[in-house]
Amino acid sequence: MILVGSSKKTLLFLELPLLIYTLIFFAYPVYLLIYYSFTDFLLYKPEIKFIGFENYIKILTGRGTFYYMNQIIYTVVVTFGSLALGMGFALLVDYFKRHRIFQRVLSALIMMPMLLIPAAVGVTWVFMYSEYYGPFNFVLRLLGLPTKPWLYTTSSLWYVMLTDIWGWSPFVYIILLAALQQIDPSILEAAEIDGATGFRRFLYITLPSILPLIGIVTTIKLIDTYKEFDCLYTMTQGGPGDYSTNLNVAIYRSFYKHRDFGTACAYGVLTLIFPILIVIIYHIISKRMEMRG
């Protein structure tokens, strides 16, 4: 390789485009985000004043902490819910590996929700939960049970979470299925001959084999779910009241409804904390695993 033994200057020169790219498309916007979060930038006022931590204080002493909690609950429940369902689907499809056609049909059915864009998923599920047109309430009515406007209850966030889990478990499923199919079948067969039950085979062979991929999928899913906006906004717009409002909805509301760019930026800065923590935790765990060898 030509580059082997190159000087530090050459390496720096080659890294320069990436550095410039990062500065322009990441560092500068983040700088602006942080800068404006310390101002009273209102779209309808010509002057902008520096106001220190006022926006942050307003958020953290107001409903901001509740929105943060909603965001964390949403992220954790949807991530691990998708993980459990995706894993279940993957194991089910893998179980039918000897019935190729059935496996393909099942796989196609499971993958279908991934074809829909999140906003379309949201709109579709608004109808699913509808008191008049929705199938859930239709069944309840057939059974003589009381119906409910599901998205207009104080538990609306949980119904959106169910939708999100339904929509994103295929993503987990497809990755874990690929991982399952990489496990050497002879190991599983040997364990079966030795008398290991299905559960023990899963616990001691399957799970450890796919654990690294589960780690990666969980990290990706945590960060991705943390950014959730489309589904939540189309289904509840943060309501009723602000029961299902998270930070992302709060940012949107601050900018588009209140024309308050300063507060929207402060919310934006606060949203950075969680992903940074996840990345740090992920690095710590990876390092420890490396050290263990």
Partner: protein, 538 residues
Amino acid sequence: MNKKEPSRDSIYSEVLKKKISRRDALSTGAKIGIGTVVGIVVGTVAGYLGGRATLPPPETVTKTMTVEKTKTTTLTETTTVTSTVATTASATPVVPSYKLERFEGVELRVPHPSGWGSWEPGLKLVPEFEEATGIKVKLDMLSWDDNTPKQLLEARQMTGVYDVSTVNVTEPLHPYLRPLTHYIEELYGSIEAFENDILSMNLQRAAMWEGEYVMIPMHANTVFMIYRKELFEDPENQKKFEREYGRELTPPKTFDELHEVASFFNNPPEFWGIATMNHRWIINTNVIHTLYDEGYDLLDKDFRPIIKYNDKARETLINIIKWWQDAYQKYKYVSAETLKWLDGELFDFFSAGRAAIALYVWDDFWGTIPGYNDPDVRAKIGRVAALPIPSLNPHGVHKGGIASWWTHGIPKGAKNPDAAWQYIKWAISDRVQLTCATGQFPPYKHQAEIALKRTIPHAPDTPLFPSREIFESMKNAKIDIYNYAAGKTVPELQMEPTTLFRESLELCYLGKMTPEEVVDKFADAIEKKLEEAGYYKG
């Protein structure tokens, strides 16, 4: 006849078939496809006169539009212009000539909310304007949520991207707009003549900045009630109602009557007494409509919340909210699901024949009144008529309520202000406004009078402007409340206080808060916000 004119029938049929909510395309996303398909199918160019068969014999008036220097464009319009001067106002409105000037080679960039059905027939006439003036119009169709922030950002930076502004009069764009007073004087002959022609007296100050007009209305609207006429005229229903309530079954004019009528017809889940929409900004607007209709404002002259310092105002707002809470929780003639409804859902529900009355209908929903009187809908639910929202007072007296006003203006950074004025003048002209009257109220009295005399082509028994009562009520209507109270634009109202009010109302209607808590929290939020913003200094 101008070959580019779409026929009135095609305009109506297009308007009728588009059932998407004007303010929230996302919530009715499933209908986008329907709108798109219909939009492609409809729009054939045909004779303007051809579609007028169902109208009373019109007096054909030839309007001569003088185009300076180069040529004279003559437009033939079949409006009964003689009726334009008929008005109930003390002074006769002046009908401007809307004479257009040529600006060869100039291009104007005009922002416009995307999917605004009521203005769609007007936009189809843009080529006429281009032909008459030599100006090329580049329409920038913005989503509803983007429309104001985008224009505010461009205007405050003086980028000159837009030559015209298109915003609600309450949107705080005023400091960034050029004065229009001299243009208006030129158009009307005097400012008094212009003010006499504006549909609502209360609009005037909202459109001004530092003593000058900076915005000019190009759209008016309000909320009203619709009801199924056949249900009210049915002899069986009339007998039964009289037996139960000891009075004649008539469309409700007060909230007490509304309660009786709604209870009478209510049979959920198949049939509901009332259908309404209470989603997002609508929920608080609806409540404030009744508060204003009782003669109150939101802020006093010192910008203090009246609902905090005037016991009667506080009690009135509490009563309004209590009425609605009972409607949802106690009597259950309104479904909680309407808390998630906008125009589209309301239209679908009502036109499917599942309610006797619908409240808070906005006419700029794509063809509301023509839509509810569409032959297919009529076959299902019979005739639909409109009246003002019932009043809280037992006498049925209306003091105004709210109205929505959209405006054009010229940003300070606009590159071609004189050409921009030509566009604005054209947009507010009779030609455009009466074409748009299929789905909105013309904002000028002389135009509204014409609309009142016209009928819907496919329903000749139904006036284009839903009813004179609504027209009269609109004359005293205040501006819808997002930003405006005490005769002044107060942008801070739109921020936390309005959001909190909206959220509190939702919770109240679900039985999670009391009306008293809602009102007091709202009043405190207003005062806190205005205190922070420096309104109470000195």
